[in-house]
């Protein structure tokens, strides 16, 4: 099995975390991850075009190990849609949105043209999920409802809550057949297992969200949970290959 990390971040973030492509690849080697989907961080004193170019270049130089996502700010309106189209032409494999760091509500009408453009370009949409006010599970479910035929991938199990209180809303969001959730940061093993049992193993993807989270630790969440080998293969590899259009390699 060739493990795919469904999301990590490249660059030096305005908010602190930083990860170079070389460090990402070294970290992946250390935990046995062959391929990773890479999104730009929120750039420090720079626009998203430059950040997208950095990730596309890193992917080009990675011998296929890094797959770039395009990150844009919906507040930039038509310019954001144009940047998405430009980045996809350059090789980006999907749209990444971070409602909290770019300060927009995930189901704000300004977001709709962007995700519909992604759907038109036949690329998935990945959203940083679980941030109060900006990326709550049901807001993300509404976003997914705009593009029912396009995969929408929610980080962090679709929700953050250290009491487990947001799991119910995340499961409602998963009522949209195109919603997938990632394992990053999700401490509740029973939630991950319930996603698989209730919605099917095709809906859960391994992701580290490094450097926000720790690559070595996040990789172990999938190993610790009680999945069959067939389910584990989908979670660690097959689902990401399907969603991000990766060639099936031996």
């Amino acid at each position: 099995m060739r493990t795919v990390d469904g999301l990590l971040f490249l660059g030096s973030s305005h908010f602190g975390p930083a990860l170079t492509a070389d460090a990402a690849l070294a970290g992946m080697d250390a935990v046995g991850t062959q391929t990773a989907v890479a999104a730009p961080v929120h750039p420090h004193r720079g626009g998203f075009s430059g950040a997208n170019d950095l990730v596309v270049r890193a992917a080009e130089e990675s011998a296929g190990r890094l797959l770039p996502l395009c990150r844009v700010d919906p507040w930039e309106g038509a310019d954001a849609v144009a940047e998405l189209r430009r980045a996809v032409e350059q090789g980006a494999r999907g749209l990444f949105l971070h409602p909290s760091e770019e300060h927009f509500r995930a189901n704000d009408v300004r977001v709709r043209p962007l995700v519909e453009a992604a759907a038109g370009l036949a690329v998935p949409v990945v959203v940083a999920a679980g941030y109060h006010l900006f990326a709550e599970p049901l807001q993300l479910g509404a976003l997914a409802g705009w593009i029912p035929d396009t995969p929408v991938v929610l980080t962090n199990g679709g929700q953050f809550n250290i009491s487990g209180l947001a799991q119910f809303d995340a499961e409602l969001a998963l009522g949209n057949a195109n919603v997938h959730v990632q394992t990053s940061g999700m401490y509740r093993e029973d939630f991950l297992e319930r996603v698989v049992a209730t919605f099917g193993p095709e809906r859960l993807l391994f992701a580290s969200a490094a450097p926000v989270f720790t690559m070595a630790y996040e990789r172990r969440r999938v190993d610790a949970a009680h999945f069959s080998e067939a389910e584990r293969e989908l979670i660690l590899s097959g689902n990401a290959r399907r969603v991000f259009g990766l060639a099936v390699a031996a």
Binding site: I162, S163, Y187, R188
Partner: protein
Amino acid sequence: MIIDMHMHIEEVASLGWQMSADDCITAMDAARVDAAAVMTLTDLPGLNPRGLELIAEACESHPGRLYGFVRLNPAHLEKAVGLLDRAITELGFRGLKLHPVSTLQHPGGSATIALIRRAGELGVPTLFHCGDEPMTTPLSIAPAAAACPDATIILGHMGGYFHVDEALDVAEQHPNIVLETSAMPYPDKIGEAVARIGAERVIFGSDGPVSSPALERQKVEIAALGEPAAALVMGGNAARLLGLAA
């Protein structure tokens, strides 16, 4: 000795909460955990009137492996004090658990402070759910720590996803605060906690069995604390707080 300071046992069918002592023991064995502090998910008085007996029976069934914490609602102060006294002095419980999200009682409120002080008089710690919700953040709990300097207050989850740095700050300010590692996703912060407040005030917990004690243990191992810090965090401190230390 490896001790998990935060596990749950509950039987509330209407909420779908069914986790047994055996579920805890199975998860502990898989993680090579020797002993655990166990508590309900509901408060007393409350949804599970048998909560006290449930935990007492679990501990009695697994001597040397399970130690009870009684979870109480300070809004029913008189009853709660009575339950706390009975739990500690008659049933052998080793601590008090408070979850302000379910009780709607602010940690700095007079009823909560009265209960924490009573726990301190009885010689047992108070474990707070400490995360990102209102009334559970480290800054919400800090006034209770200031008001009860002779009581040990454990910040369960050490601030959750977004308040870990604040947990470290308030732990530096209040020497009676101990940080518990369950659920929060940052191994590096465990190392930072040891560096800033000392290994004697950081304890391993899992929030199991619905989260994995084995995985939570690996989080502390990734923190690479070295000895003697790792031994203190993984069990030495808990043994002291539970009254197990020689």
